[in-house]
Symmetry: C2
Subunit: 298 residues, 2 copies
């Protein structure tokens, strides 16, 4: 059963407690009365989630950022982080990046564990703990027919950044281009502003079309997207790839069309009653693989 | 700086928030008013924390148990766990062990992440979240001169179990002998009973003498231990090794000598004003390495 999908399905059967949200959401949500705790744990593997030789300063930043992005999708405020580190090259860079991310993004380091490296790809993990007072805590599962489908910003920038980093290395000249891949920004304040208004929210980590299909499945609806309305940070001839690449960490959300949005966002579609397909792109089912499965958190 | 001790020292400078407890305790403790959250993240690496080829059922149990043991040392009750899993051999066994530990030890699965395996030693991580209403939440740092030093049970059983598993494999005949190594028990109810009474508590994960020295350093005292009074689950001629081996997960604690203990425990020494050495064994400093550093949580 060394197959991620089968493993997660089996795991889902174990995770029956309400806080687990059926392992179908970005985070666990534990209701404590006045406030809810919001928790997530994402791992990163060398060669999968970062390029071998990449500056560990950036890897540490990303490790923090991708976890906080999950909190952002709940409208949560970070309380603290626990880091699971495998020692190796550029540990000093890792520490500097961890400190910068912790300070800049407001997520104090609470603890964790450190292990030595025993060959193969290095594995890192991070647990982020946050809280929110807003109820209900938004999920992927609340999209309603008639709602507008929106996204906070463009996708595809991480794809372009990844390619530049892979092909040209990390140089002063391409630092701005590679930034979306190296150092994503978790949209914490945007998430807090949207949480009381949106019917469903998630962060786009694995590709817009794949993540949209997850929101559609969780909500029991179809998301009908307008291909041309989706903002991309890539050449127009790469639009189809930009919609499938991940790592941009925009927030995808649905909201009643009457709501005045508190933050800038792009309206990219509408929610329909559930049809045959989870996602439609200009009225047609999505062809080919909709995105990356490799970093599917559970 | 690929050295665990230097890395953790550097990490300590980042972790200035009170919840981190200076990375000198078993857990992070976040005060929420009525209750305190208690959090820990421990990793396990194949070939370091478990034997290659060992049944993953037991590895999953241990992954849960060692983290809950950290909660036990705070007198905390588990709320939930997040698991970081690297796919590989015997994933079905891992799931079964995870479910059994989660059910038996009362720690619901809240979520986590799953990544594919890319060579080398597999790495697993687990975050345990617990809570306690008792204040102050005990630490390693409260031992006072005159206190008795106590331990909940024998050490050395995991050493014997490890050797049997390594030399004879996992057979029906040695299952009882290997159990302390394969399937440690987190002493959650014992920790809850001790938390209001003990001046300092920690779990013994890396070797009694090493962990005692950590308690002594955190408390600014000397722990004077009576070698013969320390219960061991090993032949008498291996006493010195039993005091240095880890993985037994007993609770080591200090308590005012007038206190009537609510649970069975062994008095193994007394707390002195800080002298030249952190730990004395029959009045002498400890010779040689006091224990294992490899799984030092921070």
């Amino acid at each position: 059963m060394s197959d991620e999908r089968a493993f997660i399905e089996a795991l889902r059967r174990i995770a029956g407690t309400p806080a687990a949200r059926g392992l179908a959401d970005d985070c666990a949500v534990f209701d404590m009365g006045e406030r809810a705790l919001v928790l997530t744990h994402d791992m990163m593997v060398e060669g999968v989630h970062w390029l071998p030789g990449q500056a560990m300063h950036d890897v540490a930043w990303k490790l923090v950022a991708v976890n906080l992005s999950d909190l952002a999708a709940k409208g949560a405020t970070p309380l603290g982080i626990l880091v699971g580190h495998t020692l190796g090259e550029d540990d000093a860079g890792f520490l500097a990046g961890l400190e910068e991310a912790s300070d800049t993004l407001g997520a104090p380091l609470w603890g964790g564990d450190t292990v030595s490296h025993h060959g193969g790809a290095r594995t890192l993990g991070l647990t982020a703990i946050g809280q929110t007072e807003h109820r209900p805590v938004p999920s992927r599962g609340g999209a309603k027919p008639g709602d507008a489908v929106c996204i906070t910003g463009p996708v595809g920038g991480a794809m372009i950044g990844f390619e530049s980093l892979r092909d040209e290395g990390d140089t002063p000249d391409n630092r701005r281009v590679t930034q979306p891949y190296r150092r994503p920004t978790p949209l914490l304040s945007e998430g807090r502003a949207l949480a009381p208004l949106a019917s469903a929210i998630m962060d786009v980590s694995d590709g817009l079309l794949l993540d949209a299909s997850r929101m559609a499945e969780a909500s029991g609806v179809t998301l009908a997207l307008d291909r041309a309305a989706i903002p991309i940070a890539a050449p127009e001839d790469r639009r189809d790839e930009a919609l499938r690449w991940g790592d941009d960490y925009q927030l995808l959300f649905t909201v009643s069309p009457e709501v005045e949005l508190p933050i800038p966002a792009h309206r990219i579609g509408v929610v329909h009653e559930r049809g045959e397909h989870a996602v439609l792109l200009d009225g047609e089912p999505v062809s080919g693989a909709p995105g990356y499965e490799h970093r599917r958190a559970h």
